[in-house]
Amino acid sequence: MAADTRDPQLLKGVLPMLVLALLTERESYGYELVTRLQVDGLGDIATGTVYPVLARLEREGHITSRLVASSSGPARKYYMPTLQGAAELSRAAHSWLELTKTVAGTLGRTGLAPGAPYPPHTEELA
């Protein structure tokens, strides 16, 4: 999906899950995590969008952090999921997969399957 057509509200809903998933794969510090999200396809995502999510996940006990000293630069705060975070990721992923299955089924039946060039005109549907 092109970045300029992505619904920010949709991203807001799945961002905590994506952050948890990436941190499960490998612990990261804030800026590195943003870079990883960008590499995965969220090219327009800003650090200012991700940091509040990290703060919330940490406040809710889904992730924890540790400061790691660096010989070549400032200390970095690395985030990693907790057991509670792993459970939350599992729940969110299951919920998301169920939802996408439903959405794909509905869109497929109405001729709006993912990859379709554009929605049919209302006249065509009539």
């Binding site: 510090y29 800026y31 650090t47 200012g48 703060a55 406040r59 400061l67 630069g73 970095r76």
Partner: protein, 178 residues
């Protein structure tokens, strides 16, 4: 930690970062104090780390405006909180407006007295007694304290504060938390 992160930043970068954090502080006035301290410390650490990767100018640009970033943190709270700072601004504007109206009212009364040949008149402004004098030699406003006047003045400001700060969110939060 062996070295202070700030020690590795140039003076210009430190100033840029601190100026951004100062603006962020103003945007986060109504954020829970204890959590704000942690957010600020984390942000500072993350900024320093990001600056080491891409430079402070780029790191700050990626964060967006402090106000926008603060909105993100407010949005990540479990419930909406009152905006006391906004309420204070509205209350101050209303207080200033009432004071301006008082002066305009008094000046208009003096002008009327002078047009009628001068004299002294007893009036009321927002329930408070007001003595207006206007002659060729002098003019003045004498305002006496009254509970009614104070009640109307402060009451108006209090209503402005309540509306501006969205005080009803306190009740919504309690209901949601119950």
């Amino acid at each position: 930690m062996n070295a202070s992160p700030s020690a590795r930043l140039g003076l210009t970068d430190q100033l840029r970062r601190d100026w951004y954090l100062t603006r962020f502080l103003f945007a986060m006035q109504d954020y829970p104090g204890k959590e704000y301290k942690r957010v600020r410390a984390d942000l500072r650490t993350d900024l320093d780390a990001a600056a080491a990767d891409v430079g402070m100018r780029r790191a700050l640009a990626d964060l967006g405006s402090p106000r926008h970033l603060a909105d993100g943190y407010y949005g990540a709270l479990e419930r909406e909180r009152p905006r006391y700072w906004d309420g204070a601004v509205v209350a101050a504007l209303l207080g200033t407006m009432l004071a301006y109206c008082f002066l305009s009212y008094g000046a208009g009364a003096v002008d009327t007295l002078l047009a009628q040949g001068g004299g002294t008149v007893q009036l009321h402004y927002l329930g408070a007694p007001l003595t207006v004098t206007g002659t060729e030699r002098e003019f003045g406003l004498e305002f006496k304290f009254s509970w009614l006047g104070a009640l109307v003045y402060l009451g108006t400001m209090a209503v402005g504060f309540a509306l501006g700060s969205r005080l009803w969110r306190l009740r919504t939060g309690r209901s949601a938390g119950a």
